[in-house]
Amino acid sequence: MKEKYDVIIIGGSIAGVSAALTATNRGKSTAVITNSTESSSLYKAEKITNYPGIPAATGKEIADILNAQLASCGADVIQGRALSVMPMGDSFGVAFGSEFCMGGAVILAAGITREKLYPGEGEFLGRGVSYCATCDGMLYRGKRVALIGNNEESDHDAAFLEKIGCTVLRFRDNARYEIRGGIKADTVVIGGTEHKVDGVFIIKDTVSVTKLVPGLEYAEGGIVTDRKMSTNIPGVFAAGDCTGKPYQLAKAAGEGNVAALSACEYIDKKEK
């Protein structure tokens, strides 16, 4: 991993790979920050029959081809979950896990994100509710914490929290949790049962994009973009399912391509 890239792409499924292929093609140093391929919605797709150039295939088959292309295109592939994107001077800082790197432009290709929060989640975020066990876990050493999530990342985070002495209550169901508290969150309510805890970790596949990028315009189920896939923040572009319906591979691949071209143009203009 380098400290600074021309383009940082968040998401390594078809929109992100399409963007990475185009950006590297144009000679831009590129990093792709991505979860494990198994967590992508493409990987879970049973049959894809409408992607031009590829006869009917399973999502996994297409994901395998994409991963091979990504691995050989010259982009750095970083396993991790992006936590924060922040303008820093004329670049962007992107934080993931306990690391961060800088990018001249950022392409959001993170897939469908859950923007709707649990009751109490937004209210107590930063006051007992956290999205990052490796960031905030140490503040809860030896305490009793709830961990909501059912993915690889949440298993990893649960193991981490246990290792540092936390008692971890796992909540794996895709249900409507409610978080209550006073000055800080102290209770998780599920199915009428109250669980007293010192902290609540919510580990989604993807941090909601509006939390990931402060000030990002979002409406009607997607990040708002123009035809160049520019968002309301100069230097931040978006592609794929995160820009809204239709959730189709061909649409995502096309948007990834356009977003990368726009990102390259943005960087070239800035350097002039």
């Binding site: 820093m88 800082g93 934080a95 993931f96 896990g97």
Partner: protein, 102 residues
């Protein structure tokens, strides 16, 4: 002036007068590392107007506990020893100015 690392004693002395921005952070946290250069840029711009300090929550759990730090980074603005504003999560230079009241 520069961004000062504060401990139990220097923390109280520093925040006691004027406006101070304090970054509660830890070494293991990626967003905290991203906050560091932003904090330095803010300090360079506001030097002489706003004091800027950092508290490592691992080394100073007492201060972190006193100010109910549950997530990091947390940025708190103090005026004459009293908290006037805080923000949880990485905060850009303009956000820091807003916290400090500028």
């Amino acid at each position: 002036m520069a961004v000062e690392h504060l401990n139990g004693k220097s923390f109280n002395e520093t925040i006691a007068s004027g406006v101070t921005i304090v970054d509660f952070w830890a070494t293991w946290c990626g967003p905290c590392r991203m906050q560091a250069p932003i904090l330095e840029a803010f300090e360079a711009e506001m030097s002489g107007i706003v004091k800027v300090g950092k508290v490592d929550v691992d080394e100073e759990p007492e201060i972190a506990g006193r100010f109910n730090i549950f997530n990091i980074p947390t940025l708190i603005a103090f005026k004459d020893g009293v908290e006037i504003a805080r923000n949880v999560g990485v905060t850009d230079v303009n956000g820091l100015k807003k916290l400090a009241g500028y």
